[in-house]
């Protein structure tokens, strides 16, 4: 078998893939994937990463065409259908969209077993099931045997990504292609997945291709890195060399854009304490009732927000961070009074919103705007953007002429050209759409903007531009921002005060410096340990990284809800729920461990 060793596992020879108009997606890509070890491929969005990932699995779909070069798997032409049939069982593919990787109408385990039986027909069905459960267990999916029979909709995003990994690994492939697999995940979950891959590379004998936009994660996992830009490989090297001394302009930008958390510019300082709060939130709760399918009149109660209090000061940038499902979005709906809290009060400029008359509340809304995450679904598709932006003004009774002027002014301010006035949203990029949304909020001259994951759908370059825009607008109009985000690095850059939310509660509220340099809650530490950064971390991932899943908000355990995942939990934590206490002026945390003994 000496020849086998000399033939590389996968070889792309001068591969070109073109669109129907003749433009290149990949232009002459030369890559060799070794039989074991991890090849990292780094590139920003639009560089051709997904096309490359699919091509490595022999998957080039219409309308794209291979117009030059070839792909060889162990020397065989992977573009021929026969070879594909033969070698596909040897290749595992993990995509960026775990939510759509499985048929939603069949149990996850059944589908993985189906795949195993399809590629290894000699396996007995019972044996297949046993192997799937064993592997689900190995990637730390809790109670794997029960999860085997559960449907994709019952899995969380992180668990689905693990299940997709199991699906790719179940028949012990020789090549594992990971296309941007951590992109859609929360930071802690993404860190868990990277850690899992690191373990797997030791346990399996597969060659791994790890394709990503994230310099820190590729540096953590890869043995060798190639940088892809506009369909070409522009730089190759060892991960540390790429991260420390990037040569090509694109690599330099990727590295420069990687957030610095503990080095670089100091944390933004909160404004002095005398300023009046523009928004005061005291002890608000929200519980949703959902039908319990197993019981006749049964209801389940989802405690989405469980007693949250905080103040936002005039001119501040307040950040609210937490993972998916922690109640951030419910909170933003409550703050913008789209829904009313079950209890507690929200005061805007000192007035309780609940006690306002309809007219007062209507007037208040001018000063109080919400910007949402999804730039695609929040613009009416059949209205020209000029009309969309102006609509808010006409609702508030502004005359037509003044409306037109103010719409133009707002559009110029956010960097939309006057030609866009009559365009329909269709065909606009995500960034442009988000600018339309910002203009739509700005025309009302608000005092407070709530940005609910407003930037998460955008690529980092556009994100940076919009952050600059926000800074400019703040300086000019004295705006106050409330950023709701899972992106710690972004929050670190712009926010002056930060609240950390876990399962519907604030676990820590402090100035940015406090949160990042002196966190008072183990959950904050875990989040920090998971932020993708090239900085030396003050917290070792191994010590503080979370395992498993947060408990369900339907069935909360007594005591501190973080107990089950907390590395420092004590007996008290299981009994008594900790309250927020002031550790230092302006720094609050809700934890028995860091609290002084009573």
């Amino acid at each position: 078998m000496a020849t086998l060793a000399s033939v590389p596992l996968l070889r792309l020879e001068n591969l070109s893939i073109t669109r129907p108009d003749g433009s290149f997606v990949l232009a002459g890509v030369d890559l060799t994937v070794p039989a074991d070890g991890v090849l990292g491929i780094l590139g920003e969005s639009g560089a051709g990463k997904t096309t490359l990932a699919k091509a490595m699995a022999g998957w080039v779909s219409d309308p794209l065409r291979v117009t030059g070069g070839g792909i060889r798997f162990r020397g065989e032409d992977l573009l021929s259908r026969d070879v594909q049939k033969k070698v596909r069982p040897r290749i595992g593919f993990i995509g960026a969209d775990p939510g759509n990787a499985f048929d939603p109408t069949l149990p996850v385990g059944v589908q993985i077993a189906e795949k195993l039986l399809a590629v290894a027909p000699d396996t007995a069905a019972a044996e297949a099931k046993k192997r799937v459960i064993a592997l689900l267990d190995a990637v730390r999916i809790p109670s794997a045997a029960r999860r085997f029979a559960e449907f994709p909709g019952q899995y969380s995003g992180g668990m689905l990504q693990r299940a997709v990994i199991v699906d790719a690994l179940i028949n012990e492939p020789d090549l594992l292609i990971c296309d941007n697999i951590i992109q859609p995940l929360d930071v802690t979950v993404a860190a868990q997945i990277v850690r899992l891959l690191k373990e797997l590379r030791v346990r399996t004998n597969a060659g791994i291709v790890f394709i990503t936009t994230s310099v820190p994660s590729v540096a953590e996992i890869a043995d060798e890195v190639a940088v892809l830009a506009a369909g070409r490989i522009v730089e190759r090297g060892l991960p540390m060399a790429i991260a420390r001394t990037p040569q090509h302009a694109v690599t330099q930008e990727l590295v420069a854009r990687t957030p610095r958390i503990w080095t670089g510019e100091p944390a933004p300082e909160p404004s002095s304490a005398e300023v009046t709060p523009i928004l005061q939130v005291s002890d608000i709760t929200k519980t949703y009732s959902v039908k319990d399918r197993a019981r006749f009149f049964g209801k389940q109660h989802v405690q989405a927000v469980r007693g949250v209090s905080f103040d936002v000061y005039q001119g501040d940038n307040f950040g609210l961070v937490g993972e998916s499902g922690c109640g951030k979005s419910t909170l933003s709906r409550l703050l913008s009074w789209v829904e009313e809290p079950d209890s507690g009060a929200i005061l805007f400029e000192g007035k309780n919103i609940a006690e306002m008359t309809g007219r007062e509340r209507f007037g208040m809304r001018r000063g109080f705007q919400l910007l949402l995450q999804d730039p695609y679904n929040c613009l009416p598709p059949h209205l020209p953007v000029g009309r969309t932006i102006g609509m808010a003004l006409s609702i508030h009774g502004v005359g037509r002429k003044e409306t037109a002027e103010r719409v133009r002014a707002a559009m110029a301010e956010v960097g939309l050209s006057p030609d866009d006035l009559h365009r329909l949203p269709v065909g606009m990029s995500a960034g442009q759409r988000q600018r339309v949304n910002i203009a739509r909020a700005l025309v009302l001259e608000p005092k407070l903007l709530i940005l609910d994951e407003t930037l998460s759908a955008l690529d980092p370059v556009e994100q940076g531009r919009l952050l600059n825009l926000f800074e400019r607008l703040q300086a000019k109009h004295g705006l106050t921002y409330l950023f709701i985000s899972h992106d710690l690095a972004m929050v670190r850059r712009v926010c002056t005060r930060i609240a950390v939310m876990y399962l519907g509660k604030m676990v820590e509220i402090a100035d940015t410096g406090g949160v990042f340099y002196d966190p008072g809650h183990p959950y904050t530490k875990a989040l920090l340990s998971a932020v993708p950064t090239l900085d030396e971390r003050p917290y070792r991932t191994e010590d503080v990284l979370l395992d498993g899943e947060p408990p369900s908000p339907i069935d909360l355990p007594p005591g501190c809800s973080f107990t089950a995942r907390c590395p420092e939990a004590m007996t008290t934590c299981r009994i008594k729920e900790p309250a927020l206490w002031s550790r230092q002026p302006g720094r609050l945390a809700a934890c028995h461990v860091t609290a002084p003994a009573p």
């Binding site: 290749i91 759509n100 109408t105 795949k115 449907f151 909709g153 039908k291 399918r293 197993a294 006749f296």
Partner: protein, 326 residues
């Protein structure tokens, strides 16, 4: 199992409410339209006094809710009343002129017992035809969406939709039965008499099935997990049978549930034209003759059928797609 039990109890309770509302609406509407059933039964020669007396005996002068509750009480005992017009023999009671013949009229239950199986047979055959037409065309169109066959299916569907059912029925009866004498129709003397009416209903229903099947298959094909299945090593056949069809089934089933109502409407016209002795013909005659008990009976049965079929559709849908929650 708990889910199945609660599902059935809840849905049957809802269904019962729907049936009650529908039957009450029909009951009220029938009593508000002009035309006195007592006068119809007794004929134009009877004196007003006799008509009035008969009407009182029949309870036709009581307030409508009272009549309804009375009727409902009878329904619970399995008694849907007696036809005003139809005689026990099945034919019409000589224009219903004979007052004393009131006792010899057919009960609604008897009339339904004769006609419901006939209509079920017609509907079943119509469904078989409709699926024979729309399944292959819809699936092929969906698998080749945007291609020439898909466009052909669209044209075919529009053509089918544009053909008026009464026109097609008359043409088929004239050409196939009268001229060519291939398949008998008009009246009923054997199973063959079901074929043409069933075909007409099938032509009317199939475009909707075709279109919904084609579009749900085309969209299922675009789903990420279907595209990925090839890379995961599943065969095309398996992906189609186990994943595409499964995901396309739910929307089609829902269309089916709704279409049952449309089919009942189609049955009415087609049975009347072909003089096919089913519920449709019975209904048309009953409406023309203001035969209240029969109309009520038919409405009740149709409403029940509609409710039961839609419960089944939803039950099967939740079995196919566990995310659904009815």
């Amino acid at each position: 199992m708990a889910f199945l039990a609660t599902f059935l109890i809840r849905r049957l309770a809802q269904g019962l409410l729907i049936v009650l509302i529908v039957s009450f609406a029909i009951f009220t509407a029938l009593r508000l339209v002009p035309g006195d059933p007592a006068r119809l039964i007794l004929g134009p020669m009877a004196s007003d006094a006799v008509v009035e007396q008969t009407a009182r005996e029949m309870g036709l002068r009581d307030p409508i809710p009272v009549q309804y509750v009375h009727w409902l009480g009878q329904v619970l005992h399995g008694n849907l009343g007696t036809s005003f017009i139809k005689a026990k023999s099945g034919g019409e009671a000589a224009g219903g002129r004979d007052v004393s013949a009131l006792g010899d009229k057919a009960t609604v239950v008897e009339l339904l017992e004769q006609s419901v199986p006939m209509t079920l047979q017609l509907a079943a055959l119509a469904l078989v035809f409709a699926f024979m037409i729309s399944l292959p065309i819809g699936i092929l169109a969906g698998m080749n969406s945007g291609g020439w066959f898909d466009r052909f299916a669209v044209y075919l569907g529009s053509a089918f939709v544009s053909i008026p059912n009464f026109w097609l029925a008359i043409v088929l009866a004239l050409v196939v039965t009268a001229e060519l004498q291939w398949i008998p129709s008009i009246g009923y003397e054997g199973f063959a008499y079901t074929i043409l009416p069933a075909f007409v209903i099938a032509i009317e229903m199939s475009p909707i099935f075709m279109r919904s099947l084609a579009s749900s298959i085309a969209s299922a094909k675009q789903r990420n997990f279907v595209q990925l299945a090839d890379v995961r090593g599943l065969s095309k056949r398996r992906v189609f049978l186990r994943h595409i069809l499964r995901n396309a089934a739910v929307p089609v089933l829902n269309v089916f549930g709704v279409q049952i109502g449309a089919m009942l409407g189609g049955v009415l016209i087609v049975e009347y034209i072909f003089n096919y002795p089913g519920v449709g013909l019975l209904t048309v005659q009953a409406v023309l003759e203001r035969d209240f008990p029969v109309i009520q009976g038919v409405a009740l049965i149709s409403a029940c059928l509609f409710v039961v079929i839609n419960i089944l559709v939803d039950l099967i849908s939740t079995k196919i797609d566990p995310r659904l929650d009815f």
